[in-house]
């Protein structure tokens, strides 16, 4: 005989992770209120929005499936060029549709390449993901007649959003647009990670052997999430291309993937907000540093990275205490979310 109370309690607990916490409302309210409260900041906020989305997509594979990637820019770049080209050759004039199309393209690319990251050690994965990004960069460089090669894709004009809001110089439209897209995609991601599917991802990340022993086809799950993440990254890229009306080889660059890791790590992987918070901190930090010392700011960024690792990511993350408490309330798992890769086993012998 089962106690009803236990069932209720269990239902409660299982649903708890998906329940909205006040701090989350506060987060999004302040994000949206920035549309009115910080008009002078919209340009950088726009960047934060798409960078946050980009980091969110990395979090999906790193924080939830434990896949390390140094080439996530591949999908970002693909999306950027796709959106820019669609606009330039007036194939799809409406930005939202173009953005979705670009995302879909990146999604497919993600699906195809996902099979490359199923096997192998972390290093092999790092190199393969990196390799994919490099190959795309080379292709973009080769086919200059299409992509503009090293000069970037010039002469892109983005039509007004939904035919009414044109992308103004102050980035007002840009920010609102990026923020809404980010919010919608965040909602979907949030739903996804709290679903049985999300739970199975965590199990796959935690113990693939056992996961398969209870009937989970590990590879299929990894492919699925990698594909989704690629789509997210593609949309982030599309947002960049549409808000700057430009795309250059830089979108594929290694530095972009590296920065992305930093962004996610600053915020903390494995609870979705990490990427967004990381983006905010990183961008303002970078903006501040590069205004302060235009020549040598990478030194300080580097120092931050080194310190984060030396001090230990878990402890560092405590200086985003309020955020953390939110994450803790949302899901205690993040306390150990830093264990994104299994302790190094001797995979190279």
């Amino acid at each position: 005989m089962i106690a009803r109370s236990t069932i209720v309690a269990a239902t409660e607990r299982l649903a708890a992770r998906a329940r909205w916490h006040p701090l989350e409302f506060a987060f999004w309210i302040s994000a949206f209120s920035a549309i009115y409260l910080m008009p002078s900041q919209h340009l950088i906020l726009t960047e934060i929005a798409w960078l946050g989305l980009f980091a969110l997509s990395l979090d999906l594979i790193l924080g939830y499936a434990g896949i390390v990637s140094l080439g996530h820019a591949a999908f970002f770049g693909f999306g950027a060029y796709a959106a820019a080209l669609l606009a330039k050759y007036e194939i799809i004039n409406e930005p939202v549709l173009a953005m979705l199309a670009a995302g879909a393209g990146a999604l497919m690319l993600g699906f195809v390449t996902s099979f490359l990251v199923l096997r192998g050690s972390d290093l092999a994965r790092l190199m393969v993901t990196l390799g994919v990004a490099l190959v795309l960069r080379e292709l973009a460089n080769r086919y200059g007649w299409l992509t503009g090669g090293a000069d970037g894709l010039q002469g892109v004009t983005i039509r007004p959003l939904l035919g009414t809001f044109r992308f103004d110089m102050f980035g007002h439209t840009g920010y609102a647009y990026c923020l809404i897209v980010l919010f919608v995609l965040f909602l979907i991601a949030r739903r996804l990670v709290n679903s049985p599917f999300g739970l199975s991802l965590l199990s796959v990340k935690g113990n693939p052997l056992r996961a398969s022993a209870i009937g989970i086809s590990v590879d299929a799950r990894l492919v699925a999430i990698y594909t989704v993440a690629a789509g997210y990254a593609g949309i982030a890229g599309a947002l960049l291309a549409q808000t700057t009306a430009f795309a250059s080889l830089e979108v594929f660059s290694f530095d972009r993937s590296a920065d992305l890791l930093l962004v996610l790590i600053i915020g903390g992987a494995g609870y979705l907000y990490g990427g967004l918070i990381g983006a905010i901190i990183f961008k303002f930090m970078q903006d501040y540093l590069s205004a302060l010392t235009p020549q040598y700011w990478p030194f300080w960024i580097g120092l931050v990275l080194v310190t984060i690792v030396l001090v230990g990511r878990d402890r560092i993350s405590s200086w985003t205490a309020p955020v953390r408490s939110l994450s803790v309330l949302m899901d205690w798992r993040t306390l150990r979310s830093s264990q994104v890769t299994r302790p190094p086993e001797r995979t190279f012998q």
Partner: protein, 251 residues
């Protein structure tokens, strides 16, 4: 008798070493079948072969008269061939509640459901709680599996397998390393397994084997050595010599 699981000339070789050689044996539906043998007799390899973790070098595995030798692990789980692990293989970051919830939703083929929130299905939760209760885990259902007491982890290990609704359950030393005072919980759990479930028990501990099994196969050097009713095996002089003798020597 109706056969649940059958192996035909099953062999497995690693780089020269023969881990399993021409093992042919049948497990009757609903049987309580024990597989014993000295260390290194190839018991775990056999389990790996049965569950599809490893592929046989030769021979076949039949389940309900169907050749499943080529099936993947998850496909066999789908058919109802489920195992527990000798050393705990749990999701350290998940609570028993989530672990069992995961297993049940997977079994129901809802694993790819990414839109509904975990726990939004009442019948699912009921089943989960029922399993937790049955294995005395409901009191710790919100504790990370990684920090559960060892006995509880073993229980969860078995509960996790049960959550997959096994038709054939392979128990790999369920009581291994469990302190005496916690054992009874495990043993009673094993004993109370539904009768229709066929159980293959791999065990060192003779007390458990003889209290539990209605049929025993002895594996030596990867080959099937003796098979029969417990009393037959117990009285078989060769077995005493090869296996039990050693056991006693150890003791």
């Amino acid at each position: 008798m109706t056969v649940a699981l059958e192996t035909i000339d099953l062999s497995k070789r690693f780089a020269g070493i023969v881990a399993t050689s021409n093992v042919s044996f049948r497990i009757a539906k609903g049987a309580r079948h024990a597989l014993i043998g000295p260390n290194g007799a190839g018991k775990t390899t056999l389990i790996n072969l049965l569950t599809g973790v490893q592929r046989p070098s030769s021979g076949r595995i039949m389940f309900d008269g169907e050749d499943i030798s080529g099936f993947s692990t998850q496909k066999r789980v789908g058919l109802g061939i489920v195992r527990t692990f000798q050393i705990n293989q749990l999701f350290g970051d998940l609570t028993p509640l989530e672990t069992i919830g995961l297993a049940v939703s997977e079994r129901r083929g809802q694993g790819l459901d990414w839109w509904r929130i975990v726990g939004s299905r009442h019948d699912l939760v009921t089943e989960v709680v029922e399993i937790l209760e049955r294995f005395h885990l409901s009191d710790v259902m919100n504790t990370r599996a990684g920090i559960l007491p060892y006995g509880k982890q073993r229980l969860l290990e078995i509960a996790l397998a049960i959550a997959c609704r096994p038709r054939v359950l392979l128990l790999d030393e369920p009581a291994a390393g469990v302190p005496e005072d916690e054992r009874h919980e495990i043993l009673s759990a094993v004993a109370s397994l539904p009768a229709e479930v066929t159980v293959l028990l791999i065990e060192h501990d003779m007390d458990i084997v003889f209290s539990f099994a209605d049929r025993i196969s002895v594996l030596v050097n990867g080959a099937l050595f003796v098979e029969g009713k417990p009393e037959e095996v117990a009285s078989d002089p060769r077995v005493r010599a090869v296996y039990l003798g050693e056991e006693f020597a150890d003791a």
